[in-house]
């Protein structure tokens, strides 16, 4: 058993080896803080319109300017962080859980495997953006529906990942030994399969988080995502769409926030992928 101190120094060593982890984590934590503390950061009501202050360029009073309804963009962008992060995290968690469940079942029960994997193949043959659009067309635009739709879109990839891990682990001598020793299937799953599928799953989840944030913005941008009443980065950009040649900042500012957040999550994922892969030697 390693002491707390050596574990901490091991963690620090990993950070130094993979500098993208602390960088990504810092930006991400900052965004989460912005989302949580949005009401305390000098914002006003993000939905308050005012005809008197329409389309003001960024200035000391409105540091990000105002949109065509006179709403304060600084407030809207800060509150918009909530939607992006909520969608990103929720989809990452739900699709990981769903994919883990389906992947484990498919990996262990042959009869279910055939059916589940055919359905997953079918879903994966539909380009993910179009599947998301088609699912959103079925329901009315709401944040929860976006989360459900994107979870359905991402589950096949997680299922395939978990299933392939299960299939390769089952061939490992130590798992065969456990089976031979009479260990029950639940015990093999908990003791051997789960711990070994966790790292690829965590890495996959970060990439899903990033992809979901982008897709939410795209769906909102084309009018099939978060309803226009809720400020989200995609919505703000959609509203700036008709005016982009004159008032580019309406598109550019939420775009910069979205890109920075997605970049942070991707860097975190890249760092974790390298740090969690025991085969990589530096």
């Amino acid at each position: 058993m390693r002491s707390e101190g050596s574990r901490l120094s091991a963690a620090l060593k990993q950070m130094r080896r993979h500098p993208t982890i602390p960088f990504g984590a810092t930006v991400l934590v900052a965004m989460v803080a912005i989302a949580i503390f949005a009401p305390l950061l000098g914002t006003i009501d993000p939905t308050a319109t005012s005809l008197a202050r329409r389309l003001r360029e960024p200035s000391a009073q409105f540091i990000f300017g105002t949109d065509m309804l006179g709403r304060d963009l600084y407030s809207r962008v800060l509150y918009g962080a909530r939607i992006s992060l909520l969608v990103g995290f929720s989809v990452a968690v739900f699709s990981s859980i769903g994919g883990l469940f389906l992947g484990l079942i498919a990996g262990f029960i042959k009869r279910v495997d055939v059916v589940v994997m055919r359905v997953m193949d079918g879903l994966m043959s539909i380009p993910s953006m179009l599947l998301a659009i088609a699912l959103m067309a079925l329901t009315k635009g709401s944040v929860i529906n976006v989360i459900v739709a994107l979870t359905i879109v991402e589950i096949p990839r997680v299922t395939r990942l978990v299933r392939s891990t299960v299939l390769s682990l089952r061939e490992q001598p130590y798992v065969e030994a456990a089976i031979a020793a009479g260990a029950s299937t639940p015990r093999i799953i908990v003791r051997h399969i789960l711990p070994n599928s966790l790292s690829p799953l965590i890495v996959q989840a970060t990439y899903i988080c990033a992809a979901a944030m982008v897709t939410e913005a795209v769906l909102s941008f084309i009018g099939a995502g978060t309803p226009p009443i809720t400020p989200s980065w995609g919505n703000i950009m959609a509203e700036g769409r008709t005016l982009w040649q004159l008032k580019f900042y309406i598109v550019l500012i939420p775009a910069a926030f979205l890109s920075a957040t997605v970049l942070a999550v991707n860097l975190l994922g890249d760092g974790l992928r390298d740090a969690l892969d025991p085969r990589r030697i530096y």
Partner: protein, 313 residues
């Protein structure tokens, strides 16, 4: 060889059936009653029932799926709820711009990404490699519509080198056609370029360590010949794979790109259909795009056998 090709082509049929079933289920689950929608506001309950019967909407799921497949086999995707036009003719009107953008994107992306990946692998660890890899992480993270707007803002509004939006058909000359396609193609190709360049680099890094590459170098071949004649040919399979898989991103991307650059293609049609809840059109588009994706990956599998004679299933 021929047996393999036939087997591979036949293998796409069940995949396409599953896709068709999935897409059909989506429409089947769609809220709202199509019969009520077609009948209009003035219709009586008896009228709606008659329409429902004539459309076969009172039948079971499997019967409806069967007759839908039958019509599909005759290229009948139903009519738009909004305009009443057949979905197939709506798509035929819009296919030109989308094909143009996609084709140019494909050519541009491969022409840019493969050399970038080869150079990054050859100069692995150098500043060129690190620069290409850093840009590629950023490329993954900046959403397509952001790339589109920034390109349009810089090259169309500020520098005024290219028109900002719109589409000119090929029939009006190659010059004007190409001029309006360059920015959309670069926008759409951005992620694709990153994807292909990264895989090319990874594949080349592996191939460059092989004995035959050392032999080629030892016998005095120049780096260009070694890289492109010996190494790239052997490292091509993963690159071709990712070109096929990445095609899904290309299809999804046309929806956004055509919206940003106001191109009247199938992507734009998708967005219009969503806003109008025009389910038959949405269904038709998702189905056609998915079939194209399946066919592209079929083509990729067949190209493998040409590139690498060892591959047989």
């Amino acid at each position: 060889m021929l047996a393999y090709i036939v087997k591979r082509i036949l293998a796409t049929i069940p995949v396409m059936l599953v896709v068709a079933l999935t897409v059909f289920s989506l429409l089947f689950l769609a809220p709202g009653d199509p019969a009520t929608m077609i009948a209009g506001d003035q219709a009586s309950a008896a009228d709606i029932d008659r329409i429902r019967q004539s459309l076969g909407l009172d039948q079971s799921f499997l019967v409806q799926f069967g007759s839908w497949l039958w019509r599909l086999a005759h290229f009948d995707l139903g009519n738009s709820v909004f305009t009443g036009q057949p979905v197939t003719s709506l798509m035929a009107e819009r296919v030109g711009p989308t094909l143009s953008v996609m084709l140019l994107t494909l050519i541009l992306s491969i022409a840019i990404a493969v050399p970038l990946g080869v150079v990054a692998a050859w100069k692995s660890g150098s500043w060129i490699d690190r620069a290409i890899m850093s840009v590629s992480v950023v490329g993954f993270s900046v959403p397509l519509f952001v790339v589109g707007y920034i390109l349009a803002w810089v090259f169309a509004l500020k520098l005024q080198w290219l028109p900002p939006q719109g589409y000119t058909p090929l029939s009006e000359g190659v010059g004007p056609w190409l001029q309006r396609l360059i920015l959309p193609a670069i926008t759409l190709g951005f992620v694709y370029i990153v994807l292909i360049a990264r895989i090319t680099r990874a594949s080349m890094l592996e191939v460059l360590q092989q004995d035959y590459v050392r032999t080629a170098r030892a016998k005095g071949l120049g780096p260009r010949k070694v890289l492109f004649l010996h190494a790239l040919k052997n490292g091509a399979v993963p690159v071709i794979t990712v070109i096929g898989i990445g095609f899904a991103a290309l299809i999804g991307g046309t929806v956004v790109t055509e919206t940003v650059f106001t191109i009247p293609g199938m992507g734009r049609l998708t967005v219009d259909a969503i806003l109008r809840r025009d389910y038959p059109v949405i269904q038709g588009l998702v189905l056609v795009f998915s079939f194209v994706y399946v066919l592209v990956n079929l083509a990729v599998d067949l190209i493998y056998t040409l590139v690498d004679p060892r591959i047989r299933y």
